[in-house]
């Protein structure tokens, strides 16, 4: 296992993330919060791409469905209960993924990539063209949900620090949830499907159902990220479901090295980091980003999580790179 996965590294990373609000710089707190949301999103996609072998290019749809759900389920000028809108929006995105999964999982390989993209585009147009979600202008979430339980308010999402720790908590929960699932018999089947689906079938696994469950689960967890995004920014547009969003999250997963949850988190940080750094250099930062991506594919197979191993090998073995 690469050094990204050592417990010390994970705890150190968590401690570092927990310290961000102590800086008191609201810009950095918000940036970190946004990155954590994307990290959750990336982990949810990694369940499909990295562990089940399903390269979905339409994962933004579930992110967007949950984000719209919060905005649409919340009353216009008062706070909705967090304990209602969170499960509802996550449930709706999982449901959307379940329905789409029934179609897209009938296909494989290149087809699957294209069809997931096309269904995400369908979802995009649902929010873009119809009056349901305010059309191309999107809608505001005027009041953030409240965490109040019978008058007791454990935390306040309007407080930036509270919100940050809420998101960090969500990240830890999603990580632990996924890590645990991957240890379960269900998770082992998913990894088996990635490795050799045909063999899984001949051993008696109805793989379609497992893949469908994984697809809906990933959609729901992507929905957690979408929910948090809407709460952080208070504003939802069809762009959240755009294929650039799907492409970006796929990029994070790949940057981090697929099939590695910590890698997915790292990928999200590297992605936003690049966005910030290049964005400060030039307004055409996407040009630099594009060049980095192309160069990365050509010269760095295996993603970021392969880098520590490569460096180690280079240091130990005097650099015999494959």
């Amino acid at each position: 296992m690469s050094s990204l996965n050592s417990t010390i590294f994970k705890l150190a990373g968590l401690a570092l993330l927990a310290c961000v609000p102590l800086t008191g710089e609201s810009f950095y707190v918000e940036l970190a919060a946004k990155t954590l949301v994307l990290a959750i999103f990336a982990m949810s996609l990694d369940l499909l791409v990295g562990f089940t072998g399903l390269v979905s290019f339409g994962h933004a749809a579930y992110f967007g469905v949950a984000a719209y759900s919060v905005a649409l389920l919340s009353p216009k000028y008062e706070a909705a209960s967090l304990w209602y809108v969170l499960p509802a929006s996550v449930g709706l995105s999982a449901l959307a993924a379940l329905v789409v999964g029934l179609f897209v999982l009938r296909t494989k390989g290149i087809y699957f990539i294209m069809v997931t993209l096309a269904f995400a585009q369908l979802a995009f147009f649902v929010f873009h063209d119809t009056p349901l979600g305010g059309g191309s202008d999107g809608i505001y979430l005027n009041v953030k949900p409240t965490a109040a339980i019978a008058g007791w308010v454990p935390f306040d999402l309007d407080n930036a620090t509270h919100l940050y720790y809420f998101i960090l908590g969500a990240l830890v929960v999603v990580y632990a949830f996924l890590a645990r699932i991957l240890q379960s018999p269900f998770g082992r089947v998913l990894v088996g499907i990635k490795s050799n689906e045909h063999r899984m079938q001949s051993m008696g696994y109805l793989t379609f159902r497992y893949k469908l469950a994984a697809f809906a689960l990933a959609g729901g967890l992507g929905g957690v990220a979408g929910f948090l995004y809407a709460v952080v920014f208070g504003f939802v547009t069809p762009e959240l479901l755009s294929w650039h969003q799907s492409g970006n999250v796929l990029l994070m997963v790949i940057l981090g090295g697929m099939g590695n949850l910590v890698g997915a988190i790292a990928g999200a940080f590297v992605f936003t980091g690049m966005q910030e750094v290049f964005g400060n250099w030039t307004k055409h930062w996407q040009l630099v980003m594009g060049c980095v991506i192309v160069a990365a594919v050509l010269f760095m197979p295996g993603g970021l999580s392969a880098v520590p191993g490569r460096i180690k090998r280079a240091l130990q073995g005097g650099g015999s790179n494959e």
């Binding site: 240890q183 998770g187 082992r188 088996g192 063999r199 051993m203």
Partner: protein
């Protein structure tokens, strides 16, 4: 997803009580690919305790036949019954669940997993419980025990914790047998389990097959004549997608038609 194998079926594994009982019957199964007829009116009967060998030159349709029995290919015509039940319409996964297991001509394993995990996955397939997403696979003792027992039975006990991909070719074939065993297969469809093996390895595999035989029905596609005559109870010779002759080894050895059509060309036939 919730099909758990019939406990009654599972319990019969390893008990040679019902030797002779007919497990699988394929009647006049035919498979066409466009205009090409790959199998025509093939009949196969597999009783418990017997090894049935499919012989034939390359392209005779042996793999197509095994694929139809395992559910990898639906037959164009004909029916397949397992213990009296029509299973013609069942998929490969469903047939595995009723008790038909297979190995493949080209080694078909999970190369990055350990030997134990390969077989544990096979064992797990008998009690899937996919809703228990918070239990740990490595704490399902029954599946681990079963996997270890099957690995032992296939003669791979010393390599339990090896990564499957680095095993020798022969060991990977043994691993496949262990995986089939772990699915409680009553009927084992083995596609060239000895292909590419050295003589030591094949001798070991023949021993494994003999050990497995009493409690199961085995269909074997094989080219190694020494092995075939060492384990076969019935031999079916296929040519051009059709059954040329079927009977006990002595009958096949004596058959003029078989000699002419197939065995005469085979160098390894010196029995």
């Amino acid at each position: 997803m919730s099909e758990i194998i019939n406990p009654g079926l599972a319990a019969t594994v390893g008990t040679p009580a019902a030797a002779g009982e007919i497990l699988l019957v394929a009647e006049r199964i035919t498979r066409r690919f466009g205009g090409l007829v790959a199998n025509q009116d093939v009949c196969v009967t597999l009783p418990r305790g017997k090894v049935h060998v499919l012989l034939g030159p390359n392209g005779a349709g042996k793999s197509t036949c095994i694929n139809m029995l395992s559910g990898d290919l639906p037959p164009s015509e004909g029916t397949i019954h397992f213990m009296g039940k029509d299973i013609t319409g069942l998929s490969a996964a469903q047939r595995s669940q009723v008790g038909i297991g297979r190995s493949y001509q080209r080694t078909n394993i999970f190369p990055k997993f350990t030997v134990l995990e390969n077989v544990r996955l096979a064992a797990q397939s008998r009690r899937q419980q996919p809703w228990r997403i918070f239990s740990r696979a490595m704490k399902q003792q029954w599946a681990l025990d079963k996997a270890r027992a099957c690995i032992e039975e296939a003669g791979l006990g010393a390599k339990v914790d090896w990564i499957a991909g680095v095993l020798s070719h022969g060991e990977q074939r043994q691993l496949e047998i262990a995986m089939v065993l772990a699915t409680d297969a009553q009927v084992m469809l083995l596609d060239e389990p000895l292909a590419g093996m050295g003589s030591d390895e094949s001798a070991r595999m023949v021993e494994v097959l003999k050990r497995l035989k009493p409690s199961r029905a085995i269909l074997l596609v094989e080219h190694d004549m020494d092995a075939v005559f060492a384990v076969a109870d019935t031999i079916t010779v296929m040519v051009n997608g059709q059954v040329l002759e079927s009977g006990p080894p002595a009958q096949i050895k004596a058959s003029v038609a078989v000699q002419q059509a197939y065995l005469g060309q085979e160098d390894s036939f010196h029995v």
